[in-house]
């Protein structure tokens, strides 16, 4: 949580996270560029620049695939939640790797020509009317632009500057970008189709991302009601210090927390980056977000001083031993008397 914007609020976990990431990327590039060539015919080498294009390009694809797997994985198995913690550094590093790929291409395929590089990039292949031979570069350019935009706006400053809905919409562009990367490969390198390992990884990666998202969505799908008061369940069904997430239809979800023999309901979306608060816990009397640990008081949805974040609260009532929540949210930070469990 922040009261001041600093470039990165470093802590031990972020160092570890970034260290592992860097180790993975360095291992990938080194093995691709230095180790693998020792095992192929040295008299027929692939050009160094082309080797680097392939190394950085495939690495960026795998990284983006992993990034997109983290969200649904954490839904399906809570132990993966820590991977979400510093996912934005993962994204920024992916952007750097992808940009390196693009620079290698510009500096080789588009160099040595009387046509200037960027002009060549847009003019060398204009077969937009055909599938085979389509200028697949445009897909890569689109994906790189999205990654760059996301990397540039990844800081919390942009989140509050752009407002959460705009920021979220912007960052959801990662899905079209991923689709574009798949198309970029499918119409490009995959067509030279004699690399079985690459074909397997590309296909397998894309299928894994799609499959995990479907599985997580199926699990999330909650019953939807139309009445003003929506059923939550019996208090005993909620573990102490935990929440039950109730869908109000559309994207709106409520997290109903049980703590100290009482119940409180708040919006499930964290004010930080829309993390799923209902998957968090009560720590030190505060709702604690599972993603980056932002905290809120259950009774009024406000972060404890000196922090200033606020989230909407909801009214609760008992009908016999069934808890109901009212579907209209209170403005962020509105105090609501917690419901005592009988």
């Amino acid at each position: 949580m922040s009261v001041l914007y600093t470039p990165v609020q470093w802590n031990r976990n972020k160092f570890l996270y970034d260290g592992v990431l860097l180790a993975g990327v360095v291992a990938y590039i080194l093995v691709f560029l230095q180790v693998a060539p020792l095992f192929v015919d040295a008299t027929r080498p692939v050009d160094g620049a082309i080797l680097r294009m392939r190394a950085f390009g495939t690495c960026a694809f795998l990284m983006l695939t992993l990034i997109l797997c983290i969200g649904p994985l954490a839904r399906l198995d809570r132990r993966f939640l820590p991977l979400l913690y510093n996912r934005r550094h993962f994204g920024v590093l992916t952007c750097v790797v992808a940009a390196t790929h693009a620079l290698q291409v510009l500096g080789w395929y588009y160099a040595f020509s009387p046509t200037p590089r960027l002009e060549a990039l847009l003019s060398a292949n204009t077969s937009f009317g055909q599938v085979l031979g389509f200028p697949f570069e445009v897909f890569g350019i689109f994906a790189l632009l999205v990654l760059t935009l996301m990397a540039v706006t990844s800081h919390d400053f942009w989140l509050s500057f752009l407002t959460a809905p705009v920021w979220k919409a912007l960052h959801l562009l990662v899905y079209p970008a991923y689709a574009a990367v798949v198309a970029h490969m499918a119409l490009g390198y995959l067509q030279d189709a004699k690399n079985p390992a690459f074909a397997l990884l590309a296909g397998g990666g894309a299928l894994t991302v799609a499959g995990l998202h479907l599985a997580a969505r199926r699990r999330d799908r909650a019953a939807r009601g139309a009445a003003d008061w929506v059923t939550v369940g019996r208090p005993a069904e909620i573990a102490d210090g935990r929440a039950r997430i109730v869908s109000l239809g559309g994207d709106e979800r409520v997290a109903v927390f049980r703590y100290d023999g009482r119940l409180s309901a708040v919006s499930n979306a964290c004010a930080h980056q829309n993390g799923p608060l209902g998957e968090g816990r009560i720590v030190d009397g505060c709702i604690t977000c599972p993603w980056h640990g932002f905290q809120y008081r259950p009774a009024d949805g406000c972060s404890p001083a000196p922090f200033t974040e606020r989230i909407p609260t909801y009214r609760l009532k008992l009908d016999g031993d069934t808890v109901l929540v009212h579907r209209t949210a209170n403005p962020p930070g509105t105090p609501v008397e917690p419901l005592a469990i009988p």
């Binding site: 802590n11 976990n13 972020k14 592992v20 180790a23 993975g24 990327v25 291992a27 990938y28 590039i29 093995v31 691709f32 693998a36 095992f39 192929v40 027929r44 692939v46 050009d47 082309i50 392939r54 190394a55 495939t58 690495c59 795998l62 132990r79 993966f80 939640l81 913690y85 510093n86 080789w108 395929y109 588009y110 160099a111 040595f112 020509s113 009387p114 046509t115 060549a120 060398a124 292949n125 204009t126 055909q130 085979l132 031979g133 570069e137 119409l187 390198y189 067509q191 030279d192 690399n195 079985p196 390992a197 990884l201 968090g280 816990r281 720590v283 030190d284 604690t288 980056h292 640990g293």
Partner: protein
Amino acid sequence: MSDPDRGGFFIGWSNKLPDRLGLFLVQAAAVLVAGLAGAAFAIGVTQNDPGDGAFRFDLGRQTITGVLQAEPYPVLHVTESERYPAGHAIMLSGQGKRGVQDRAAPLDGQLVVASGVILTRGPLDMLQVRGGDQGLIAAEAAPDANAVPPGVPVPVPLGRWRLTGEICDGKCYAGAMRPGQGLSHRACANLCLTGGVPPVFVATDTVDGQAFFLIAGPDGGPVTDRILDHTAMLVEVEGQIERRGDLLVFRIDPATLEVL
């Protein structure tokens, strides 16, 4: 704001990590790094063979005398060289992605001395003519005034053919890039071709024992503008084939180009 017993719940800013979760994360990190290294190895060792084409810098600068033919694309028919037999045809290109049309046109049909670096792939030879005025010059008049000056070889028609293969730029294919063919190299090939590098057809079958052809238009002239949508992939095309020296020229009919 921390609580030692959080039941395995991870809070990023807290330096205390629940034990079991710590072990899981160490394993996840190991799987990540090892998995990436393994993937790099698997992709790295299964890359396509880029072919045996290459710049022959090892041979040093070549100076070759021959008759220049400017159309459809500049070709030198060797009359005298240390390395190449008389009658051998060598395609010409400039530095980078450039042709030598402008330097070749005024010397068309004449005996010239060309110098530069050779690129070789199988039977295909290309000379990257060195820059400046000295790369391509008219040969000095023969000392024997009565000698008949050599001319361009008379074309020998080999009939009409429909061939399957790939349109490549003759320079990258000959080894300027490895690999210098295939769809991922397409934009690069088109840049070479529009820059004036001679296009070649690499067929899946042979005609008269050869699978490389210099591409020309139906009238025997250049055809670059009409093949750019069909480069770098498997296509089928029809045309007349003729032999000029030891070079086969495929006078394609662009209207018959078909993507396979």
